[in-house]
Symmetry: C2
Subunit: 401 residues, 2 copies
């Protein structure tokens, strides 16, 4: 394979964009350079010369001679418009925008096929961990049974600090916001939407199943209290925000829910902004990948590896997806493989018993009441969790056992 | 890329060969089949029909229509002869034979270039962990600073059982031999030659440096006693047999020595036959990969992923090696980058003080003597470790701190 030169049009020069710029400048041997960067804020002081920047996206999208668009902006809708236009122009795209990818996956898949261009996005899940590429290239013929992991650096950072510093959620969250480990509106991260978007992407590459974000239940750490941390500590456990996508019988279960993990789990020691992914296959058995899941340089290095892959015209093969849709082009059959009607064992902390009414509780194994806090350990019909889905007024903290 | 059909000539039908056969039979969508298998023992009962087998290697090597040779025999010299002949015939080769690869790396590299064929060997290091491919494809432009790991399943199995069952080395070794976790002559494994061969291969793919096996010091667990396990336990540590290849200043240090690791290390919980590799880069930071390092199916699945890669004409790019040799074809410069003259802090258990005379001890930090056992913690000139290299009569147990 002959490597080609890559000329990049970059959208966004925030945390990851600047990280990419640094990484690219210090990379040896990669024939790639950033020609133009489109940014929004006209007044921000930036560390490279003004001539690199434009405020007009068309100046990049209509420019001749660019062969890759790297999209690293925050807004998922604007990102989608940019990515779509670039692909329709026959230009390959690198992105790390998991929300945009998850919300528009079907259309983005079809755009790749229709325009015969690459859309690659290693930086969108697991930060610097090369998980998507490994699912595509290394586990492409492996019968995988499960993929799960810690995929959100913000949640893991908060959970780690709550446990190690014996602090409550809001104190740590505030501090995390000051230190750049949480957004000013942290909802997408702490309520596990971000984790869920990543679960969606990993499910595509591990099993060939394409879902919509609303097909996947998520609940996060938004209602956690120090009581929950203490409960775990006393039992030698840790709470980790997990994405889970696994096969049970001939159906798949996919969700994003906090879990108790014990000392023997590879996930137990994954702390602060580190992420981890566990892949289980029939023959390769259990593989765990651990690495920094967030931050300017780790994510920048994942984006760089995508750019490097484009120098030899790399594209995702989507082998498992193509096999499942069997030439039809219709990616709907995926959802039929998902199971919703099963019991899941949960630890649920609540203040008021009425809060539990939305859930279909099959059996209660333990019940604890005190002046300060109440919890039950119960088997709940998974389907009924959608009754509390994405409701900010819901105050339950839920953790799978 | 158009996938092509792969017709395989297989050498060896032992543990990994049979694993490959199973994995290939259950793989979905891979267009590959084993046409003929060359084995040695004419009398062994085998689980597939006799017509698949031959006892004459030329029947495979001179056969038309095979496009891949998979070499999975024990004997490194015979393996090298087979691999060499296949490559000179223009046939690509998949192997998992780390000893053969390490002992003949320069020649094998030149054979790939000269014949323009692929030689790929994911199964040779880390079992099912996709480490070599990731070094080649994902960290190809990353400035790596360190790669280290637990790479020998036999050592890790023995160390884990000694600690968890409070048993001495020879008892566990005997049991491991009965259970198929150790060879009848365990020297290559327990004295860390196997770990060293893998360190050599990872050093090629991480840093582009080619060494000879004798350039790399190795000492293993062949002299470990339960006293050493107890020493570690009392301090909350575990002993792990590590391969280390890292940059210090502008030189590299490469060796295979047991290490104490603490509870916070990702390597601490890697038990039994599991392997782990830690990769550190300037931008991607620390990544850890954990998976089964030995066994029929895990290694078979690594070999399968190599075969799958050959369906789209994959070859290792050896980018870092090519950059270092700068078109000269002479891979010698690698060794000049290795440092030998540095102090290394070691725990050394000995019975007789005279045993220490071979080592150049710079300073002793601790000294413990008793009726049962003696140890020192000392800074030793690394170079002097070669005085005890590969001497079966050496009875020191050495562990880096």
């Amino acid at each position: 394979m002959e490597n080609k030169n890559i000329t990049i049009g970059l959208f966004g020069f925030g945390c990851v964009g600047q990280g990419l710029y640094d990484v690219l400048n210090h990379s040896q041997g990669l024939k790639a350079n950033i020609e133009k960067i489109c940014v929004k804020d006209r007044n921000k002081k930036r560390k490279i010369a003004d001539e690199f920047f434009t405020f007009d996206k068309e100046e990049i999208l209509q420019r001749n001679g660019l062969n890759v668009i790297v999209e690293l902006i925050d807004n998922a809708d604007e990102a989608f418009a940019i990515v779509k236009q670039a692909m329709n122009n026959g230009v390959s795209v690198v992105t790390a925008n998991k929300k945009m990818l998850a919300e528009n996956f079907s259309e983005l898949y079809h755009l790749q096929v229709k325009n015969n261009v690459a859309l690659i996005y290693e930086g969108s899940a697991g930060g610097s961990i090369p998980i998507i590429r490994n699912l595509e290239e290394y586990y492409d013929n492996e019968l995988l049974s499960s993929i799960k992991g810690i995929l959100n650096g913000t949640c893991n950072y908060i959970l780690t600090r709550m446990e190690l510093e014996n602090k409550d959620y809001l104190d740590v969250l505030k501090d995390a916001q000051l230190n750049g480990f949480a957004e000013s509106d942290p909802w997408l991260d702490v309520a596990a939407f971000d984790t869920k978007f990543k679960a969606l992407l990993l499910t595509v590459h591990a099993f060939g199943i394409v879902l919509n974000p609303d097909d996947i239940f998520n609940t996060g750490i938004q209602n956690i209290s120090y009581d929950d941390i203490l409960y775990a500590k006393q039992r030698g456990l840790r709470i980790k925000m997990l994405a889970v996508s696994h096969k049970v019988g001939d159906k798949f279960r996919v969700y994003a829910i906090p879990h108790f993990v014990d000392r023997n789990s590879e996930l137990y020691n994954v702390s602060y902004e580190y992420n981890a992914v566990e892949v289980e296959g029939a023959y390769s058995c259990k593989q765990t990948f651990v690495g920094k899941g967030a931050g300017s340089h780790p994510t920048g290095s994942a984006v760089l590896s995508d750019i490097s892959a484009l120098t030899y015209d790399y594209k995702y093969g989507y082998k498992k997806l193509k096999k499942l849709i069997n030439g039809s082009g219709n990616i709907e059959p995926g959802k039929a493989q998902i199971e919703y009607d099963f019991p899941i064992k949960l630890y649920i902390r609540f203040q008021d018993g009425e809060q539990l009414n939305d859930l279909e509780i099959i059996s209660v194994e333990e019940e604890f009441k005190s002046a300060g806090t109440n919890y039950i350990i119960a088997n709940v019909n998974f389907n009924s969790l959608f009754n509390i889905y994405n409701k900010r007024e819901n105050k339950l903290f839920i953790c799978a056992i």
